[in-house]
């Protein structure tokens, strides 16, 4: 049976009609199941853990990118469980990357049940699908062999699944593309117009990365839109950790 987890913002009456249409479509397709609605004290993680404990093999998250990111973080602990997505709300980039355009087409995608095994990244105790960004003057130790640091500051991005169709990051290759983005400026150009600054990007294929800031300072990392703070981030690839239902138009 399918378990549907509804994001808390779906209680807004403006979504009622659209939800009703989708629920009818799921019933017609014979894949409607039990519904769990998130609320103030009912978290994504707790809800998914409860559903799996009750025997759920497929969990469908109904919501936006933030909902999908929190669902991935929870479901990664249960390798036998498959994740589905019904996009709702403003930002649905992850669903689009996976070939799921809108709520109605998501019903057909769920019914067709084309399952892909994708790599996940793990940063400290959290999982992510797309990429991890850490801005500032930080140092990345790559594969336990060498360290990479931007000379004049910049940003470190560990990419598993690129949000850009032409960007580096294939979530089936068992590795990250670790990018170090720096701003390089010509003297006269930067003096008269900072807008002329051009960014240089270094790319390293990696499987595990440790990111540290000088003096063990606190850093902020953003993964799948979720923000984390720590003095050290240990990032490792978890090959084929996520079973996810995808559409035919997926960008992988």
């Amino acid at each position: 049976m399918y378990h549907y987890v509804y994001e808390s913002f779906l209680t807004d009456p403006k979504f009622a009609k659209q939800l009703s249409v989708i629920e009818n479509r799921l019933t017609d397709l014979g894949i409607y199941g039990s519904v769990h609605r998130l609320a103030l004290f009912k978290t994504m993680k707790g809800t998914i853990q409860d559903a799996v404990r009750r025997g759920a093999k497929t969990v469908v998250v109904v919501g936006d990118d933030g909902s999908v990111a929190r669902a991935i973080d929870a479901i990664a602990e249960f390798p036998g469980v498959t994740l589905g997505i019904i996009p709702f709300g403003e930002k649905n980039t992850i669903a689009k990357l996976l070939g799921i355009d809108d709520g109605m087409s998501a019903c057909d995608v769920l019914s067709a049940r084309l399952v892909e095994e994708l790599d996940l990244g793990k940063v400290n105790n959290h999982y992510f699908l797309t990429s991890l960004h850490i801005p500032g003057a930080v140092t990345a130790e790559c594969n336990g062999q060498y360290t990479v640091s931007p000379v004049n500051g910049g940003e470190i991005c560990v990419s598993n699944f690129s949000m850009d169709a032409n960007g580096p990051g294939d979530p089936r290759d068992g590795r990250f593309e670790t990018m170090v983005k720096t701003a390089t400026r010509g003297f006269f150009r930067s003096m008269f117009s900072p807008a002329y600054a051009s960014a240089g990007t270094s790319i390293f294929p990696t499987t595990h990365v440790i990111v540290r800031a000088p003096g063990k300072a606190q850093m902020t990392a953003i993964a799948d839109g979720q923000s984390y703070q720590d003095a050290e981030f240990r990032v490792e690839i978890m090959p084929r950790r996520l079973n996810i239902i995808v559409g035919k138009g997926r960008q992988i």
Partner: protein
């Protein structure tokens, strides 16, 4: 629907200007170095060292094009091309060498086919055994 793969299987590494790499750097594919590298470099594919690069390391690659500065030994299994701005402080070994006017080399240079290199190594080991 599917992403394009380049000849190196997507293993290209780029060390851009403004980035410093320290340690034993190895890559299964092609490498382009524009920044600073200290330690050692091994590229199983082709290596490009641009004019802005500064390398303090022993460098090994299949083919290499160098326009920057290398302090360390440089070894190319096949072809090595030194452009006019290249500065090498160390020994060079390769099978085929091209040097543009203006390039500087401070060190020994060995350009030899595999058989010749093998003969040389055999002679050296024999001499060492006799000693």
């Amino acid at each position: 629907m599917f992403k394009k793969e380049d000849g190196s299987g997507g293993n290209e590494t780029i060390i851009a200007s403004g980035v410093k790499v320290e340690g034993d750097f190895t890559s299964p594919g092609n490498v382009r170095i524009e920044g600073i590298v200290i330690g050692s470099v091994r590229a199983d594919g082709d290596l490009v060292v641009t004019e802005t690069a500064s390398i303090e390391a022993d460098v090994t690659a299949t083919n290499a094009v160098v326009a920057g500065e290398i302090k360390g030994n440089l070894s190319a299994a096949e072809k090595l091309e030194l452009l006019g701005t290249a500065k090498i402080n160390g020994n060079i070994s390769c099978r085929m060498l091209t040097v543009e006017g203006g390039a500087t080399i401070s060190g020994n240079c060995q350009v030899a086919q595999e058989k010749a290199v093998a003969r040389e190594r055999a002679r050296e080991s024999k001499a060492a055994a006799e000693a």
